[in-house]
C-alpha cells in the first residue's frame, strides 16, 4: 500500500490505481487512497471493504461496517467508517452561530420593530381622522338619522357624460374612466380619487337598506379590514331626487405592491316601488376625503337621474 516515489520528478504513484500525484499530496487525486501511509498518525482506512448499506449513525458504539487495514485507536467520541482524522489538519467547526444567538436576533427584531411600529403609530394618532360624507347638501355632514333636505339638481352647462340611467357633468380636467349602460366613472385631475355613479333597474325590487348591505358585504369581502369610518355618521336623505342612505367606509386598499388607507363615501337609494337602484361612490385616500368631497361637489349636484 505504500506509495512509490519516482526519482527526479517528485511525484507519487498511487499504489492502488497507479495514478501520478504531485509531491506533497496525501491522497490520490484519482481515487482518494491515502498516500501518507508512512506517517506516524493513525492510518486512514484502506478502501477494500464493501460499501455500507445505509448512512451509518455517528455514536461511538456503532460498529463500523468496513474492514480496516489498520484500525485506528479511538481517542474521540466516535469513529467515522469513512476516515479517521489525523489531527494534523484541524477541521473548522461546523456550527458558527449558536442557536441562542439566532433566536435572540429574531426576538430582538420583534422587540425593536414592535417599538418602532408603536412609536410611529402613536405619533400618527393625533392626526389620523376621517371626516366627511356625501350628503344631499354636499359637503357638510348631516346629523345621524335625520332626513336631509332634498336638493334640487343643477342642470349642467358644460361637458357631460351620459348613459341610459343618468347624465353626469364632467368638470374641466376630470376624465371619464368608464361609461356603460349602468355606470359612469370619473377620475379627478390629480388621480387622487374616483367617483362612480350608477343607476339601473333592480330585479327583484329592493330597499335602500338591502342595497347598502349588499355594498357593505362586497367591500368587506374585497378589503378585509372594512369598517364604518370613525367620526362619520350613517344618515338618510335624498340625492337629487331619490331617497336613500349616506355613509362612509374606511379600509386598506391593497393593489399590486401599494397599500393605502382608503375611504369610500357612498349613497344608495331606490325609487318608490324599489324597482330602480341609484348609487354613488367617492373613493379616495382617507386623509383626502374632505377635500375630495369639495372637489366633487359640482358633479354630485349635477347628476340627473333618468330612471324614475
Amino acid at each position: 500500500m505504500l506509495p512509490r516515489r519516482r526519482s527526479g520528478r517528485l511525484a507519487l504513484t498511487c499504489a492502488r490505481c497507479g495514478a501520478q500525484n504531485p509531491d506533497g499530496n496525501q491522497f490520490c487525486q484519482a481515487c482518494g487512497t491515502p498516500l501518507t501511509a508512512a506517517a506516524p498518525q493513525p492510518a486512514a482506512p484502506a478502501w477494500t471493504a464493501a460499501p455500507p448499506q445505509g448512512p451509518p449513525s455517528p455514536p461511538a458504539s456503532t460498529a463500523p461496517p468496513l474492514a480496516y487495514a489498520s484500525p485506528p485507536p479511538a481517542p474521540v467520541a466516535y469513529a467515522s467508517p469513512y476516515y479517521s482524522p489525523t489531527g494534523a489538519f484541524p477541521q473548522a467547526p461546523v456550527h458558527r452561530t449558536p442557536w441562542v444567538l439566532i433566536l435572540a436576533a429574531i426576538f430582538g427584531l420583534i422587540v425593536v420593530m414592535a417599538g418602532c411600529g408603536t412609536a410611529i403609530a402613536l405619533f400618527n394618532s393625533g392626526k389620523a381622522s376621517v371626516t366627511g360624507t356625501i350628503t344631499s347638501d354636499v359637503p357638510s355632514p348631516t346629523p345621524a338619522g335625520s332626513p336631509s333636505p332634498v336638493a334640487s339638481p343643477i342642470t349642467p352647462t358644460g361637458p357631460t357624460a351620459s348613459d341610459a340611467g343618468m347624465t353626469v357633468p364632467v368638470p374641466a380636467g376630470w376624465v371619464v374612466d368608464s361609461n356603460d349602460n349602468e355606470e359612469i366613472t370619473l377620475a379627478d385631475p390629480s388621480g387622487a380619487g374616483v367617483i362612480t355613479v350608477a343607476s339601473a333597474a333592480s330585479n327583484p325590487a329592493s330597499t335602500a337598506e338591502q342595497q347598502k348591505n349588499s355594498v357593505d358585504q362586497d367591500f368587506t369581502s374585497r378589503y378585509p379590514d372594512t369598517k364604518t369610518c370613525p367620526n362619520t355618521k350613517t344618515t338618510t336623505g335624498s340625492l337629487n331626487g331619490p331617497q336613500g342612505i349616506f355613509w362612509t367606509l374606511c379600509f386598506t386598499l391593497t393593489s399590486g405592491s401599494q397599500s393605502f388607507p382608503a375611504a369610500a363615501s357612498m349613497f344608495v337609494g331606490v325609487n318608490a316601488d324599489g324597482s330602480v337602484f341609484y348609487g354613488v361612490i367617492l373613493l379616495t385616500r382617507q386623509d383626502n376625503l374632505q377635500s375630495f368631497l369639495t372637489e366633487a361637489a359640482p358633479i354630485l349636484k349635477g347628476i340627473q337621474w333618468k330612471l324614475k
Binding site: T48, Y82, V94, P224
Partner: protein
C-alpha cells in the same frame, strides 16, 4: 470500489464521491445516477419536496436547518402576538423584516461571501433594496390603484387594464430588474458555482421584497393608530411575512442561478425553463392574487393560491440546483473534510460517500477546512 455509473475507482461508500451516484441501487425505483430521491444539498429529502430552508438556505447542515426553522417559527409567533394585540403597524414591520433578517444571519452563518462581506452584501441585499425602491416608485407612477379598483356597482368587477399592469407588466419588469445587483457583482469570478448564484439572487430578491413592503405600506404605517381591531389583517400579514419574500427571493434566485450556469457554459433547457418558470410564477402570483381580490374571493383561497405558486417555484429551484450540484461537484479534487450534513469525517471528492451531499454546497468554514492541494494540479474550483 468502482462506481457503477462513472466507472472511476473511488473510496467505498453508499454514494460515489466523484459523480454522486447512488451505488448498488439498480433495483430501486428512479435513476441512481440522478438520484432525485436524495437532493444533493440535503440528501435526506427528495428533490420534489417543497422545503423552504433546504432550498433557499442550501449551505446549512441539517442541525442548523432546524435552528433556522425554529427561528422562523418564533418570528411568525411574534407577528401573531402583535396581530392579536392589535399592534398592526408593529406586525407589518416585523413581517417585512423577518425573512431578510433570517437570510442575513444565514449568510453570516455559512460565510457565503467568504472574505468580502461588504461587497457581496452591498451588491446583493443592498442592491436589491435600491432596485426595490426604484421599481416601487415606477409602479406608483404607472399604476393608480384608485383608478383601477373595482366597485360594487360594476358588472364585471375586474379592471382589465389594472390586471394587465399589476399581473403582467409589473412582474416582468421586476424580474428583469431584480437580478441586476447580483449580475454586476464585481468579484463574481470568485463565486463561480451555481449555488453561489442562487444564494446571491435570493439575497437580492429579499432586499427587493423588503423595500417593496416598506414603501408599499408606508401610507398605512403613517396613518394607522397605535391600536386597531385586528380584523382580517392576518391575511395581509401572512402574505407580507411569508409568501411575498419567498416569491421574490425564489424567482430572483432562480434567474441568478441560470445566469451563473450560463457563465459556466451550461445553459440548457432546464435553465431556460427556470427563467420562464420564475417569470410565469410571478405573473401567476400577482395576477391571481389581484383577480381573486377584485372578485371578492375568500382571502384564505388567496393564501392557498400564493402557497401553491411558491411551492412550485421552490421545487423547480431544487430540481435546477440538484442537477447543477451533481455536475459541478464532480470536478472537485480529493480532500479530507467533514460532511456538513452527516458530520462524518471523510476523504472525498465532490460528494460525501456516506450521505451523498454535494460538498460544493458546504459552508465556507468547512470548505476552508479541506486540506490544501498543490496549486498546479488543483482544479479551478479548488484554487479559490
Amino acid at each position: 470500489m468502482r462506481c457503477d455509473h462513472c466507472s472511476n475507482d473511488v473510496p467505498d461508500g453508499v454514494f460515489c464521491t466523484r459523480c454522486g451516484a447512488h451505488q448498488g441501487t439498480t433495483n430501486e425505483i428512479g435513476n441512481a445516477k440522478t438520484r432525485e430521491h436524495h437532493y444533493a444539498a440535503h440528501p435526506g429529502e427528495h428533490v420534489a419536496q417543497p422545503s423552504v430552508f433546504t432550498t433557499l438556505f442550501p449551505h446549512l447542515g441539517h442541525h442548523k436547518i432546524h435552528e433556522f426553522r425554529w427561528a422562523f417559527i418564533a418570528g411568525l409567533a411574534g407577528i401573531l402576538v402583535l396581530y392579536l394585540a392589535g399592534l398592526i403597524s408593529a406586525a407589518i414591520l416585523v413581517s417585512a423584516f423577518l425573512v431578510p433578517v433570517l437570510y442575513l444571519i444565514y449568510l453570516y452563518e455559512a460565510q457565503v461571501y467568504r472574505d468580502e462581506p461588504a461587497i457581496v452584501l452591498g451588491f446583493t441585499l443592498g442592491g436589491g433594496i435600491i432596485v426595490g425602491i426604484v421599481a416601487t416608485v415606477f409602479e406608483r407612477i404607472v399604476y393608480n390603484p384608485f383608478q383601477y379598483s373595482g366597485n360594487p356597482f360594476g358588472n364585471a368587477g375586474v379592471s382589465l387594464g389594472g390586471l394587465l399592469i399589476v399581473g403582467l407588466l409589473l412582474p416582468v419588469v421586476q424580474e428583469a430588474l431584480k437580478p441586476l445587483p447580483a449580475l454586476f457583482l464585481p468579484n463574481r469570478a470568485d463565486f463561480p458555482e451555481t449555488v453561489d448564484g442562487l444564494v446571491f439572487g435570493v439575497a437580492a430578491g429579499l432586499g427587493f421584497s423588503l423595500a417593496q413592503a416598506l414603501i408599499g405600506f408606508s401610507s398605512v404605517l403613517t396613518s394607522l393608530p397605535a391600536h386597531v381591531a385586528p380584523g382580517n389583517w392576518i391575511y395581509t400579514l401572512t402574505t407580507l411575512a411569508v409568501f411575498l419574500p419567498l416569491l421574490q427571493g425564489s424567482a430572483t434566485g432562480m434567474i441568478a442561478a441560470t445566469i451563473w450556469r450560463y457563465r459556466r457554459g451550461r445553459l440548457g433547457g432546464r435553465e431556460i425553463g427556470g427563467v420562464a418558470m420564475a417569470v410565469l410564477a410571478h405573473i401567476a402570483f400577482s395576477a391571481g392574487t389581484e383577480l381573486m381580490k377584485e372578485t371578492a374571493v375568500n382571502a384564505l383561497f388567496v393564501l392557498i393560491w400564493q402557497a401553491a405558486i411558491v411551492g412550485a417555484l421552490l421545487i423547480y429551484i431544487r430540481y435546477l440546483l440538484h442537477h447543477a450540484l451533481l455536475e459541478e461537484a464532480a470536478h472537485m479534487g480529493y480532500a479530507e473534510t467533514v460532511c456538513p450534513s452527516c458530520h462524518m469525517h471523510i476523504v472525498a471528492s465532490g460528494f460525501c460517500p456516506n450521505c451523498g451531499m454535494a460538498l460544493t454546497a458546504a459552508p465556507s468554514s468547512i470548505k476552508r477546512g479541506r486540506r490544501p492541494r498543490v496549486e498546479s494540479h488543483a482544479s479551478p474550483s479548488e484554487k479559490r
